[in-house]
């Protein structure tokens, strides 16, 4: 059976490509149905492979450079991520069947996107990996640009394409530095890069794959792109694609670069992760577009996962296999959990966009009644987002915290202080994420509809409902029995860090140390359920029968018009007002936020206008200076056009002399 898994998965990818061709002829439904079947087959193969202990296999395929065959390879790591991608793929394809409106010309890109992700995960050499990664990038760019008639969508897609281009340049260079072109991963493992070359690979991979994963400071494309893409596409991008990028980081740094690299290689991962976690979580509290909120929370969660990965790298280099296994296990668990619940949240957001006609919090509200399935999914996802036990989000974040707190064994006082700062930053990020989750649910789902369109919201169709139910059940299961996920991840952990989690993850318990206390998710769930039941019973017993509707506090607005006896719904707290305390407390320092109130002159009856503005620090500190540098360089290049004959000759001469100097210096070295 193990010999069959790669041909089977190859057929899945071929099937996806065939689906793309079919979709080009017959439209969206074909793309959705074909992808659904192919992803189901792929998920089944990955699951069976993992259950069989993830034996390694290789398969040469006619793909890649002329005159060479590409190599597909599968092991525990690729199989685990493939299972995640294919599972979310099943749900996203099902959700795409519920798409209404005019047929989109970008439907064929959807199966190509899935095939690209699968090819990246199954690549056995650098060229195949780059092929898959770039197919994924381009297809997702096309999908982001689906509603290209809107200006914001075009801008988001172009920003995404630009960052993907930067990533491609760096990733190709990184894989080129790892070894000769077209050499399989086995040859690279035998002769991993050393010294300066290894540092260059680290930097290039962190830019190349990190930009796709949404590691700070290259995360700026995520919120606009995820907001612009259709719901099922952003579910796939956020749930699966960022994880594929993390897989590339894991594959290159943990697997191919070998165990001999210095431990400080983990530090940039931890620093980028912490920055992304805090900034992402804070921005999730500021954005008013629900999909942008979810995208910012993706930045936060990818940051947390990156912290786990960096810690695992440092621990492995410091020869602490049990800590390395713990941190890596936590990172993988959270990656799987986040993939599933964020996919579910984005599908829910897509359903809200379709059912209630808007993504803006100011236009939603009270959706829990007309959209019960979607609201349940959003509630469950928000619980995961907030890290409430016993959700899937809690299991992963709890294990991450445990591994960070165990990280004090890594070094002396300096390291321990840094670990404390790290833990504090993570706590800040998760608390902010919890606040963002409360805001999302409270403003969009609870309260009263703020617009007539939101009041007339309708639940989505059966395919999307089933997709959300599938991901919801998976997420519940992962929260209640996280050991099952860790069991599936065990081959990957053994492959990457020699220290697995097998002894520490029983069927019901999860403990960071062999003989220490652990987390009993089912017990916690029972306890919580019991507590809630008792409170509900007491409340029910003491409550007055019936209910009445009364006016809500409306912040001192004027009397509502007579046809709105319970106050104007537009005066409810909305996304912007909910965010104000955090914006004033943290936003000024981190996001450069400012608020302006424009008062009309004394005799004018025009309303006062309130405006708030904030800038992502990556925009301010990295992209704005980069833009100015680009302007300077293009100005210089422009001046080259108007050089005199002698100056042109002098430039050529200077270039020649510079070349000779470089040759001379290299020879002396």
């Amino acid at each position: 059976m193990t010999d069959l898994v790669l041909p089977w998965l190859g057929l899945v990818m071929l099937g996806l490509c065939g689906t793309a061709a079919m979709a080009a002829v017959s439209g969206d439904r074909a793309a959705g149905l074909g992808s659904l079947v192919a992803c189901g087959a792929g998920a089944l193969a990955a699951l069976l492979h993992l259950l069989a202990g993830a034996p390694e296999a290789r398969l040469a395929v006619p793909l890649g450079l002329a005159g060479r065959s590409g190599l597909l390879a599968i092991d525990g790591v690729s199989s685990l991520f493939l299972l995640l991608v294919m599972t979310i793929g099943v749900a996203a394809s099902a959700a795409s069947l519920d798409r209404h409106g005019p047929p989109s010309a970008t439907a064929p890109a959807f199966p190509v996107f899935l095939a690209g992700m699968a090819l990246t995960l199954l690549a056995g050499d650098g060229v195949t990996l780059v092929l898959g990664f770039e197919a994924m990038s381009l297809a997702s760019f096309i999908l982001v640009a689906t509603d290209h008639r809107e200006e914001t969508v075009r801008k988001a897609a172009l920003l995404y394409l630009g960052i993907a281009g930067l990533g491609a340049v760096c990733l190709v260079a990184a894989l080129g530095l790892m070894g000769e072109t077209g050499v399989g991963f086995d040859a690279i493992r035998a002769h991993p890069p050393r010294g300066v070359r290894a540092v260059a690979v680290l930097v290039l991979v962190l830019i190349g794959a990190g930009s796709k994963a949404g590691l700070a400071p290259l995360h700026v494309w995520l919120p606009p792109a995820h907001a612009a893409a259709p719901g099922h596409v952003s579910a796939l991008m956020s749930g699966a694609m960022t994880k594929v990028a993390l897989y590339v980081i894991v594959r290159v740094l943990f697997d191919l670069a070998g165990a001999g690299q210095p431990g400080w290689f983990g530090v940039p991962l931890i620093a980028m992760g912490l920055a992304g976690a805090v900034i992402g979580a804070l921005r999730a509290n500021m954005e008013t577009d629900i999909k942008a909120v979810l995208a910012c929370s993706t930045v936060e969660n990818v940051g947390l996962i990156a912290i786990g990965l960096g810690l695992a790298f440092a621990a492995r280099a410091a020869d602490l296999p049990s800590l390395a296994g713990l941190a890596l296990g936590a990172a993988l668990l959270h990656a799987m959990g986040h993939g599933v619940f964020k996919g579910m949240l984005f599908l829910g957001a897509g359903s809200i966009l379709h059912g209630a006609g808007s993504r803006l919090m100011e236009r939603l509200g009270g959706l829990i009644r007309p959209m019960p399935y979607t609201a349940c999914a959003m509630l469950l996802g928000a619980a995961c987002l907030a890290g409430l036990p016993p959700s899937a989000g809690f299991a992963g974040e709890w294990l991450l915290f445990q591994s960070v707190l165990s990280g004090i064994r890594l070094g002396g006082l300096g390291v321990q202080i840094a670990i404390c700062v790290l833990a504090g930053g993570m706590a800040l990020a998760t608390a902010l994420a919890a606040s963002a989750a409360v805001r999302l649910v409270g403003v969009a789902l609870l309260g009263r509809p703020r617009t007539p369109r939101a009041a007339a919201a309708t639940e989505s169709g059966p395919p999307l409902r089933w997709a959300v139910i599938l991901l919801g059940l998976l997420s519940l299961g992962m929260g209640l029995v996280p050991s099952l996920v860790l069991g599936l991840a065990e081959p990957a952990l053994q492959h990457l860090s020699q220290g697995g989690m097998a002894q520490r993850a029983g069927l019901l318990t999860l403990s960071p140390h062999l003989d220490g206390p652990g987390y009993l998710p089912l017990g916690v769930a029972l306890l919580l359920g019991f507590g809630v039941a008792v409170i509900a019973a007491v409340l029910r017993a003491r409550a007055v029968a019936g209910h009445r509707t009364g006016p809500a506090w409306d912040c001192g607005f004027g009397a509502p018009p007579p046809w709105l006896p319970n106050g104007d719904p537009a005066t409810q707290y909305a996304g912007g007002s909910f965010a104000q305390p955090l914006r004033r407390a943290l936003g000024v320092a981190l996001l450069d936020a400012d608020e302006t109130v424009v008062m009309p002159p004394p005799d004018d009856v025009a309303p006062a206008r309130f405006a708030e503005h904030s800038v992502d620090p990556a925009d301010r500190l990295l992209f704005a200076p980069a833009g100015r540098l680009r302007a300077v360089i293009s100005g210089l290049a422009d001046r080259m056009t108007f050089l005199t004959v002698r100056q042109s000759l002098a430039v050529l001469f200077a270039a020649l002399v510079l070349f000779l100097v470089v040759v001379a210096v290299l020879e002396q070295a």
Binding site: F642, T644, R646, L649, A650, V661, V663, A664, E667, Q668
Partner: protein, 225 residues
Amino acid sequence: MERMAIGTLSYDAAHLLGALVLALSFGLLSQRRLGPVINAYAMQAIVLAAAAAWQAHVQHAPELYLTAAVALGAKGVAMPLALHAIVRRLRIGKSVETALGIFPTMALGVALVALAVLVVLPTTTQSQTLARDDLSLALSVVLLGLLMMISRRTAITQVIGFLSLENGLILAAVSVNGMPLVVELSVAVLVLVGFVVFGVFFFRIRAEFDSLETDHLDRIGSGHR
């Protein structure tokens, strides 16, 4: 072929001639006036012809005599005469405007020779000693020719810089064993064509701007900005 090593007559003579070519390149750079520049170029071409002839004798390669004859006839006699004629016809024999001062130019030239030696000697450890030395000399001559092209203002000195650069190429060609004659001939023809074209240009520029400064040409382009 007799063995060439340091201390043998064949090596020393070849080395001396190559060094003379390089020295004359410095001579070109150091001259302000147009007449002496042309004369220095003629002398360089004659020494180059001698170097080619000596190589023909040493390498027993009779075709190199032809190269020597071409160098002597075309570059040592015909072109300098033609250049002198142009100078007389345009009445510009008085002075040469240098864009850089003579001293900085010479200092730059010395630095370029050092660079050429640093580049060539380590890359060619497998080759014969003479080929290595001659290659570094030739590269120096090429670089000095380029320097001449950018350090002078008038078109005619820029052309002489270009021709001197070509001398460096021929020096490199003759010092390597078995370089086919075709290459040298084609280079010579190319230079001749370039020379004719530049000659036409001189008169056009002169007729247009009443000066030979190529910087005037750029004002044509600037009109289109």
